[in-house]
């Protein structure tokens, strides 16, 4: 009797240990953050060659972007660099802490030109009508991708593990890693959004 109980317990234990090891490995693998501090110039230049749909919404990133492992969406280092650029390049003058101002909010569940990376990159690089300036002469294309990745996390409805946390500043809204768009959801005045672009 005891023998049987023991053998069952043993197999349960073995499975438990294996599962926990495997999940620990998986979690840690998910965490992997290789920090690419420098891309070879041709690789960086290739980031400029994404294709945009003719209406300026959505499109496909360059092939090399996938080959690099989509480094601007899930990599904590690039996202935090993007957050610095957001402050350094005065994005807050129009977009505030992400809740908008002169420019549109990122937290209201509505992306005028869609939530895809390429749309955001295109918006930053080339500018958009109604006041969004082009940053192609002020940021390198790598920085634009970093910034775009960060902007995407501000309004994301499923906060990324890699999303930045708060700054050592005055607190104005929950940080990106807590999903401010979920906590502060605010549709805004109805009718502000032109009828285009998918919601996230």
């Amino acid at each position: 009797m005891t023998e049987r109980v023991f053998s069952i317990a043993k197999s349960v234990l073995a499975v438990a240990v294996l599962l926990s090891l495997a999940s620990a490995g998986g979690v840690l693998g998910y965490l992997r953050q290789p920090r690419e501090l420098r891309f070879e110039p041709p690789v960086a230049a290739d980031l400029d060659w994404f294709r945009l749909m003719s209406n300026g919404i959505g499109g496909t990133p360059p092939e090399s972007y996938f080959a690099l492992g989509k480094p601007y969406e899930a990599d904590a280092y690039n996202l935090s660099q993007g957050k610095r650029l957001y402050a350094w390049f005065g994005c807050g003058t129009c977009h505030g802490d992400g809740r908008g101002g002169v420019g549109p909010s990122f937290l209201d569940g509505w992306w005028l030109y869609g939530p895809e990376m390429v749309s955001i990159v295109a918006s930053i690089r080339d500018g958009r009508p109604h006041g969004m300036p082009a940053f192609r002469d002020r940021l390198t294309i790598e920085q634009i991708w970093q910034l775009a990745g960060y902007v995407q996390t501000i309004g994301s409805y499923s906060p990324k593990v890699a999303a930045p946390s708060r700054n050592d500043d005055k607190q104005t809204r929950p940080a990106e890693n807590r999903g401010p768009a979920i906590i502060l959801f605010d549709e805004g005045p109805v009718g502000v959004h032109p009828d285009q672009g998918p919601s996230p």
Binding site: L13, Q33, R166
Partner: protein, 636 residues
Amino acid sequence: MTSRNAGALRDTAFDAAEIDRRLAAIWSTTPGVWGALATVDHKVIGRRYITTAFVFLALGGLLSLLMRLQLAQPEARFIGPDRYNQLFTMHGTNMMFLFAVPVMQAMAVYLVPLMVGTRNIAFPRLNAFSYWMYLAGGLLLWIAFVLDTGPDVGWFAYVPLSGPQYAAGKRADIWAQMITFTEVSALAVAVEIVVTVFKHRAPGMSLDRIPLFVWSMLVTSFVVILAMPAIMVASTALILDRLVETHFFNPAEGGDVLLWQHLFWFFGHPEVYIIFLPAVGMVSTIVATFTRRPVFGYLAMVMALIATGILAFGLWVHHMFVAGLPRLGESFFTASSMAIAVPAGLQIFCWLATIWAGRPIFTTPFLFAIGFIVTFVIGGLTGVMVASVPFDTQVHDTYFVVAHFHYVLVGGAVFPLLGALYYWFPKLTGRLMSETRGRWVFGLIFVGFNLTFFPMHILGLQGMPRRIYTYQPEMPWSGLNMFISLSAVILAGGFLLFFIDVIRSARTGAVASSNPWEASTLEWATSSPPPPYNFARLPVVGGLDPLSDRRDVLPVAAGLRVDRRELLVSSIVEATPEAREASSGDSIWPLLAAIATTATLIWSIFTPWAVVWGSIPIAIALIGWFWPKGVPEDES
């Protein structure tokens, strides 16, 4: 209840062979994987602890070799800044949290029950749990490092660099959570040791007959208990700042950057003594054995240990002399930091007096003890130097400090530890280590260490800051750096030879008798290695050196049961027997509890809800752990 006990089998009823047979049946760890996972034998766990700690020592040593490779030349491109920052953070974190503190506690887990003459440590299951937690914390850190997610913020992880804004990703969280693992483990072991020393001493081992190593571990354990909560508070605050946006360290919202430093060093300075005090005990034991006389000034030594333990809490600000605190406060901490040199000096003088009056036998452990005095005095004196505020403004955060704390920690703790391992190896394994190889090991390590670290004093005074991954060719540092890197090879060679010696001796070393050194403490009263129950009959102590008068007959106590794990509870001061007490049997629950805790702690790096959900399996495991199983150990 008493009636059930009255029918119990006692050792008074049997002859020696039969007692051994019955005790072995009761106390032995079940063979096989299950037994290995469920064991609560302090010797098995202690050996495991020691082995694991030495594996971490070897890994940490490899990291330092990589750093020396990078620093051998100016502007070397061998390792980039991102990896280098991980390297030195891992080296410091690993050596402090995964090697130095655990290895000292591990030696105590193995030795203290033997030295106080009992059969197992107090709370044996907690002991098993401590080991699993320690192992999990170590694995977490090292797996993260291998995956390029190792912490890169320095081993004292100053905010804001380790805070939410500047340490992207989970690297700093892994560091902070690894702290939780090792501190839980260290605190638990400290409790076990305190209670073992207080309540499990052999009859007659009054306070003034406790061996110095045991005293040192008792004081160390109290320092652990009072110091480690500070780092747990700090690391928890850091994780909260990073995960749920608390503002402990955010000056813009009323937090403070220096709060981290205060909390960290309130733990961090006592940490040095947590590592050093056990070494004092080891040196005292080795010196006593190999000078063939008791240590000079037993009472003075004990007082010095206690004084050091208390003063350890009054020094933390000397790590913050250049942070811009008020001058008056700094002056107080200069005085207290200088003052701690007095008990340290007293200990040195007592050892010198012991050697003077004794008859030295130059075995390998004794050589390490001598090497300890030579190097530790340098580390202590440079400690006096950095205690001075003006002096410190020039050497703080330079290689001078790197040299200083390696002299204190390697000279002051690792040398005694290696000596202790040569000394107690027969008790750990039943075999002696090689005296010939031992002398080579000592020579290589002693020479290699001094050649490696002494020049760092000069580099520091020449203006080389610590934690730089490279330096420019026009700085006058390249010659010494190359010299240091080459010397590090000698040091590494010494350690390599040490590990070879350990492995070879464990297999083929000369078989040791129960007391090969003719030492006088109780662990030598039983066989090498001891049986699972340590002592067939518990020894009775009549003096400070129970084995020293070379009596033929060891006084023992009889009357313990042989049909359950039973040992003795004695009073704190006089160690008069108070009760026979059961000692827990093997159990898998500590491991299950450790797995549940590990899962919760790792998960909580990602979401605060892990604490809520994770507490359920932890609670289940703890209930399973403590629920009575109707075994004889539960009788009373």
